[in-house]
């Protein structure tokens, strides 16, 4: 649920950011309107350089509408009508376009896609626009926005934006923003003539991890940098300091990557740990159940296009149901006739996986489906400018652990769990004790499948939602379960996470492909040595 909170928080900042454009920053003058009109007309057919000029002009014009225009230009909703060449803001409604005049905001009704022409911008222009908007938002009341602004400015800092920073520094209260601003100023100061200023600047830069800071220091020590020995020395030290700290964070980063890869494996495998580990059913259609989960997410998003933020929260239970029910259907329809014949089960379920794939192809077309990422899941949590944890990975790690714990509780605490374990250990005895084993089988399989579906929701945030989604994971997840030890959830947890981390530490020197191969070979050999995995089931029952 932390996810929801953070989600709202981020949503807020978004909102704040968008409020920005309506804040009046200067007084309009009579002639500006005319002036603007003139410039806007040049927008449509001017070269990118012309546009750059116009943007600059608009920024300095101080007209409050200017900001709105810049924003819409950046957002790429600024068009002009082909017939009367009038510059308009376009709002896309499913088929047609809604036009509003850019200056006086009056509605101009609808238009066909090909009646209007977008005013193209390129990356250079985007950069400039961001910079402009940033400079205009240094004094914004939300520190997050200010931080973004400062960072934007620092990216390509120049003499004339430094005064802005200095001025802002005096009023700044938030530490993070302060650090950023100081860094920005320092970047300029390392170039100053006053040696003392330079040294302090270098010191400041040494304390931050901003890559830009490092570059400025690099520039100093590089041959043909500065002649002054002390400054060189100071810079070199500062650099060393930065490097050593960076290495630590790089290590942490790799661990995080490993864990997140592991968490994906865990999600993929944990459902299997139930069907395969507890029931002994080889479900080759497991991957396709995940695929169903992913498609459920897609459908949910289709149904609630205006609440993407919450779509995942809806999708999780939905996917659980869809996949779970499918699973129960499979169990009742096929698997129950094959208990005690694992190899046959394997074949039958493989057939089912083909059927499911082709069914999805026929229903949703073979093309991948685009599943949107809610705002609160995109972007990353900046620990500092050297280490940033991407939110989607972060949430998926948390989520996978959540699922794991939930499953554990179900199996250990609920009566269903009790019955499941009873059936797993001695089906006849269980039946004798009045447990409806058939019912338990169905539910257990449903549970495992449902979890697969939930995993699918997570995957939809990481990779393609397409008919082949399942195949990519099935082998890995079997590997994890077998490696961890069949019938042992903890084994699955440890197995998944460790495999993930190992993989990530191998990757740098072996490359992605070789890493995967090595891990596979390792598992194959491992199973030879310990055929029952990391945490084998003990006890006479297991002696079979």
């Amino acid at each position: 649920m932390t996810s929801l909170l953070r989600g709202c928080l981020r949503a807020l900042t978004m909102l704040a950011l968008s409020l920005l454009c309506v804040l009046p920053t200067a007084w309009a003058e009579e002639n500006v309107g005319v002036d603007l009109m003139a410039q806007l007309q040049q927008f449509k057919d001017g070269s990118f350089d012309d546009k750059a000029r116009i943007v600059a002009a608009l920024e300095s014009s101080g007209d409050e509408r200017a900001i709105a225009i810049l924003k819409s230009l950046l957002a790429g909703v600024l068009y002009y009508r082909k017939d009367d060449e009038r510059v308009v803001i376009v709002k896309e409604s499913d088929d047609a376009y809604q036009l509003t005049d850019v200056l006086n905001g009056e509605s101009l009704g609808e238009a066909e896609r090909r009646d209007v022409k977008k005013i193209p911008i390129n990356n250079a222009l985007r950069g400039q626009l961001r910079g402009a908007l940033a400079r205009l938002s240094l004094s914004h009341k939300n520190p997050a926005v200010r931080l973004e602004a400062v960072k934007e400015i620092i990216k390509d800092i120049d003499a004339d934006s430094v005064p802005l920073l200095r001025e802002a520094l005096t009023k700044e209260t938030d530490d993070k923003v302060l650090e950023a601003m100081r860094t920005g100023v320092a970047m300029m100061d390392v170039g100053s003539d006053d040696k003392a200023v330079r040294l302090t600047a270098i010191e400041n830069l040494g304390d931050t991890l901003l890559p830009e800071a490092r570059q400025h220091l690099q520039a100093l020590v590089e041959p043909g940098g500065v002649s002054d020995a002390d400054i060189r020395f100071a810079a070199a030290q500062a650099l060393a300091q930065i490097e050593s700290r960076r290495q630590v964070y790089d290590f942490l980063e790799t661990v995080f990557f490993g864990l997140s890869l592991g968490s994906v494996l865990l999600l993929a495998a944990i459902g299997l740990a139930i069907t395969f580990g507890v029931m002994g059913v080889i479900n080759m259609a497991h991957g396709e159940l995940m695929m169903l989960g992913a498609y459920t997410t897609y459908v949910v998003q289709l149904l609630m296009p205006n609440h993407i933020e919450y779509s995942l929260l809806v999708a999780v239970p939905a996917a659980f149901l869809v996949a779970g029910l499918t699973g129960i259907a499979i169990e009742r329809g096929v698997i129950r006739f094959l208990y005690g014949r694992p190899l046959e089960t394997l074949l039958a379920t493989f057939g089912i996986s083909l059927l499911l794939q082709q069914a999805v192809r026929s229903v949703f077309s073979p093309l991948n489906r685009s599943v949107e990422t809610p705002a609160w899941m995109s972007g990353s949590l900046e620990i500092n400018s050297a280490l940033a944890l991407t939110y989607n990975r972060l949430y998926i790690i948390l989520f996978s652990l959540l699922v794991f714990v939930a499953l554990l509780l179900i199996l250990k605490k609920t009566s269903l769990g009790l019955q499941v374990r009873a059936v797993a250990q001695n089906r006849d005895m269980a039946r004798a004790m009045g447990i409806r084993t058939q019912w338990v089988d169905a539910l257990t399989f449903g549970l495992g499948s449902g979890i697969a579906g939930v995993a699918g929701v997570a995957l939809s945030q990481l990779t393609n939602v397409g008919p082949n989604l399942g195949q990519a994971y099935i082998i890995d997840s079997f590997m994890v379960v077998v490696f961890g030890g069949v019938g042992n959830l903890w084994g699955t947890l440890v197995g998944a996470l460790s495999l993930g981390v190992v993989n990530k530490f191998l990757e740098p020197w072996s490359g992605a492909v070789l890493a995967k191969i090595l891990v596979l070979i390792f598992i194959i050999l491992f199973i030879q040595k310990r055929p029952r995995g990391l945490f084998p089931q003990k006890g006479r029952a297991a002696e079979g």
Binding site: R114, R214, G379, L462
Partner: protein, 430 residues
């Protein structure tokens, strides 16, 4: 199509030996058969099904115009099921059994490589619509997609001049097209004075989905002060997670622009494009191009596929060009005989969809404009640069040691890989 079904059913009953008779019966029908060899199932179905529909549409149109040489065109659709040996098998079937006049098909290089010997052996015609690595020119194959010099090099030029990129990441899926393209680019960049420590090359397996480490490496590589750009030859499925990771790790197009050679409108239709805005792609056609041929083509496509949301993309244009060239050549030669068509088609000019004309060159590649587009949030591309004149496709790259001495010319040399040094023509299957 229909008669083909009957054939197959019959074949199923009568069995292999009777097949001979079938083919006789087929020849009796007075149509010109056109083979369509695109995977309709398996992993490649994602991209290839669209091309099948495109061909059906084009053939449909041609028939409305009264067919060809007074005969109706008949499409013969087969499904090689993304299985490379099956491509060769189906080609053999199309040419020797169904006696098709020409085949339009293939997407991946390997499928083309698998088909090539068969087409040459049976002297058929193949029109190959996808951008590829070059290093090939066959008498029987016409390459209507881009050669590396019609996509990669102009894109790099753009990044150098207009974006001012100084450091380069060449990221690709580990197969022939990226490998070759990156080799060419590496050579080209070095020729332009880029130091090798400013070039980072990275290969990943097909459908690679965990991009965390690689993207963070790119990020580090890009934070060394010099403007950095990524040239992506990453294949199909791997792109979505790649771009998602880029966005999540906060790499915007403004910081490190990515120019892709395998990401078109169709691929984008499967991605949430908001985070991608500003990243680039280099193609010879974009759906967003303003040209009356294009508008007409799109209208036609939407009418045919009965879905206003469906996009058009570069390989579709390639088929459009290829098909029209073939039609023209057949009319010119007044026959569908392979050799006549091969002779007739070189020099044929047809309009492309971007308001220009495409010409078939003696090396069996065509002339194309090169467009650089920026991804917009509506999944379309905004053209930001266009080569002022048409670029002729170059079969053998001048930047590869192996092939810089090799030439392809089917008019004068009558050879697809003529070594100007040894004055020898090698590797011909006839």
């Amino acid at each position: 199509m229909n008669s083909r079904k009957q054939i197959s059913t019959l074949r199923c009953i009568v069995g292999a030996v009777a097949l001979g008779m079938m083919s006789q019966w087929v020849q009796a029908a007075d149509t010109i058969k056109v083979g369509i060899l695109h995977s309709l199932s398996g992993t490649m179905a994602i991209s290839e099904t669209t091309l099948k529909d495109t061909m059906l549409m084009l053939i449909d149109e041609q028939n409305k115009k009264g067919g060809l040489l007074g005969k109706k065109l008949e499409a013969v659709v087969v499904d090689p099921a993304s299985n490379w040996p099956l491509f060769a098998e189906k080609t053999r079937e199309l040419i020797s059994k169904d006696k098709v006049a020409a085949i339009f098909g293939c997407w991946t290089s390997v499928s083309r490589k698998s088909v090539l010997p068969v087409v040459e052996e049976l002297n058929g015609l193949l029109f190959y619509p996808v951008q590829y690595e070059g290093e090939e020119s066959s008498k029987n194959v016409f390459y209507t997609g881009a050669a590396p010099n019609q996509q990669a090099i102009p894109a790099v030029d753009y990044l150098m001049k207009d974006v001012g990129a100084k450091r380069w990441v060449l990221a690709g899926t580990d197969y022939v097209y990226p490998r070759t393209t990156n080799k060419i680019l590496e050579a080209y960049l070095k020729a332009k004075g880029v130091k090798s420590e400013d070039i980072m090359i990275n290969y990943t397996p097909f459908g690679h989905s965990d991009w965390q480490s690689i993207v963070s490496d790119i990020k580090k590589f890009g934070s060394q002060g010099k403007k950095t750009a990524v040239v992506s030859t990453i294949n199909g499925d791997a792109n979505v997670p790649f771009y998602k990771e880029l966005a999540n790790q906060g790499i915007s197009a403004a910081d490190i622009p990515v120019v892709a050679f395998s990401v078109g409108e169709e691929e984008l239709s499967g991605i949430d494009t908001k985070p991608l805005v500003g990243h680039l792609a280099a193609w010879n056609y974009f759906m967003s191009v303003d040209a009356k041929e294009n508008d007409a083509f799109i209208k036609q496509w939407h009418a045919f596929i009965k879905d206003k949301k469906r996009v058009t993309n570069d390989p579709m244009e390639a088929h459009y060009i290829g098909f029209n060239m073939w039609v023209k050549a057949v009319e010119k030669a007044k026959s569908t005989d392979t050799n006549k068509v091969v002779d007739a088609i070189v020099g044929v000019k047809v309009p492309n969809l971007t308001g220009g004309t495409a010409e078939m060159l003696p090396n069996h590649h065509i002339t194309k404009p090169v467009l650089i587009g920026e991804i917009q949030d509506d999944g379309q591309f905004e053209v930001v640069s266009k080569t002022d004149k048409l670029v002729p496709g170059d079969a053998w790259s001048d930047f590869l040691p192996g092939s810089k001495d090799i030439e392809a010319d089917w008019v004068k040399l009558k050879c697809g890989n003529y070594n100007t040094k040894t004055k020898k023509c090698s590797g011909q299957n006839f």
